[in-house]
């Protein structure tokens, strides 16, 4: 898996970063044999690493993750 990307997303605090990591971690990647995703909260930073075989797969996975993260952060903003 030579196509790789690491995202670092700052959240307002450590608690919210931990919540985001735990919520999104529940669902495995649909194509686990082609995509490896690692999520960790380090302080208030949400760190996500993707390893894929193809650029297309990388794009699909990252887009999907960002959609989920947006839903989580919007929920936090509405009900924090």
């Amino acid at each position: 898996m030579d196509k790789t990307i690491t995202l670092e997303i700052p959240l307002p605090n450590e608690r919210l970063a931990t919540i985001a990591a735990r919520v999104i971690e529940v669902d495995k990647e649909l194509k686990a044999d082609q995509v490896k995703r690692t999520i960790a909260a380090e302080g208030n930073i949400l760190k996500v690493r993707f390893d894929c075989y193809t650029t297309k797969m990388l794009r699909v996975s990252v887009n999907s993750f960002l959609e989920y993260l947006t839903m989580v952060t919007r929920t936090m903003e509405a009900f924090q």
Binding site: I19, V23, I24, V26, D27, T70, M71, T75, F79
Partner: protein
């Protein structure tokens, strides 16, 4: 006193409901819904449906909390549809339920969509021990309760009856607002000529794909000739598929010796189906129980209710297990809140 909030979004309807159990008393505090409606001739696709749900779920939740006139602290448990349903919409809703579970520090309960319909139907109609006909766009099952399990006595072998109706509405280019099934129902009332269609009951099971193909062929070949009308076809389709549903329901009633029928699911709203089922039940000295569109159609309150029943028996879903599944059989759920 226990209060649950329920999130439902397994198909094109996004619903949030809030329910309170106080002893045996059940109070519906809020039941808000937003339906994703596509243009005539089109069905809803998972990706677009999920986007619709993500766009409106927070507003619907706020409306539900306001309607219930409670604060988030008052909620004891958060319930969501674990399945069955469309993958992306289910997941979008589960993300919100999980996030709120951690934000508010409340337990989570994953609910089976079919069990939600059944429990809400039983609660609203007060049916004692009915044969349940669960009919919607995604499911067609005849169910009876036995030994802590909702057992499937008969079901569709291919597409759901609601799927058949919805796809026929697409063929005729009927509006999807408020729902294609409702619009077929209105057309059928004006139908005058019955056109024979395949009658495909298979013991306790049914099959609808052949009927859909056959009536699609008739629509394309015969309608242009002007001898029959779209209204006639809608009338004929309803008479055929509903008679099939009545037959398998009656067979189950005879088998389990019940004299009650409970209609649940979106197609259960159909007055003609209720009439036909009522005639059969009357002949057997039985009764038909049905709810109106507040509860027949997918809603959040049914998830809150079924989730709360499970929660009160001690059931919760750990966060690590709070996934969704597109296939979740009705009989996979242990009905711990009912005895015997």
């Amino acid at each position: 006193m226990v209060i649950a909030i329920g999130f439902e979004g397994s198909a094109n309807k996004l619903g949030v409901g809030i329910i309170r159990h106080e002893g045996d008393q059940v109070d519906i505090l809020a039941n808000v819904r937003d339906t994703y409606i596509t243009p005539p001739g089109q069905g809803f696709l998972p990706r677009d449906t999920a986007q619709h749900h993500r766009d409106c779920i927070l507003d619907v939740t706020q409306k539900a909390l306001k309607q219930a006139n409670i604060s988030t602290q008052d909620i004891d448990v958060i319930c969501y549809t674990k399945g069955p349903g469309m993958g992306a919409p289910l997941l979008s809703v589960a993300l919100v339920a999980r996030t709120l579970s951690l934000l508010w520090n409340k337990p989570l309960v994953g609910v089976n969509h079919c069990v939600g319909h059944i429990e809400m139907g039983i609660e609203v109609t007060k049916a004692k021990n009915p044969v349940v006909l669960y009919v919607s766009g995604g499911n067609t099952q005849v169910i009876a309760y036995s030994q802590q399990c909702y057992r499937i006595f008969g079901e569709t072998l291919d597409i759901a009856v609601g799927n058949c109706l919805d796809r026929f509405a697409r063929i005729l280019n009927l509006s999807n607002d408020p729902s294609p099934g409702y619009n077929i129902e209105q057309y059928a009332k004006r139908g005058k000529k019955y056109i024979p269609l395949p009658y495909t009951v298979k013991g306790m099971d049914v099959s609808f794909s052949g009927i859909l193909s056959h009536i699609e062929k008739i629509a394309k070949e015969e309608l242009p000739k002007g001898e029959i009308t779209p209204e006639d076809l809608c009338f004929s389709l309803q008479e055929t598929v509903f008679a099939m549903l009545v037959e398998i329901t009656e067979r189950t009633m005879a088998h389990v010796e019940s004299n009650e029928v409970l209609l649940v699911g979106g197609v259960g709203c159909n007055i003609r189906l209720q009439e036909m089922m009522g005639e059969m039940a009357k002949q057997r000295n039985g009764v038909v129980c049905a709810t109106d569109d507040r509860f027949c159609i997918d809603n959040g309150i049914m998830i809150a209710h079924a989730g709360l029943l499970a929660y009160k028996t001690g059931f919760t879903t750990p966060l690590e297990e709070s996934t969704v599944t597109q296939r979740f059989r009705t009989d996979q759920v242990k009905i711990a809140w009912r005895e015997n």
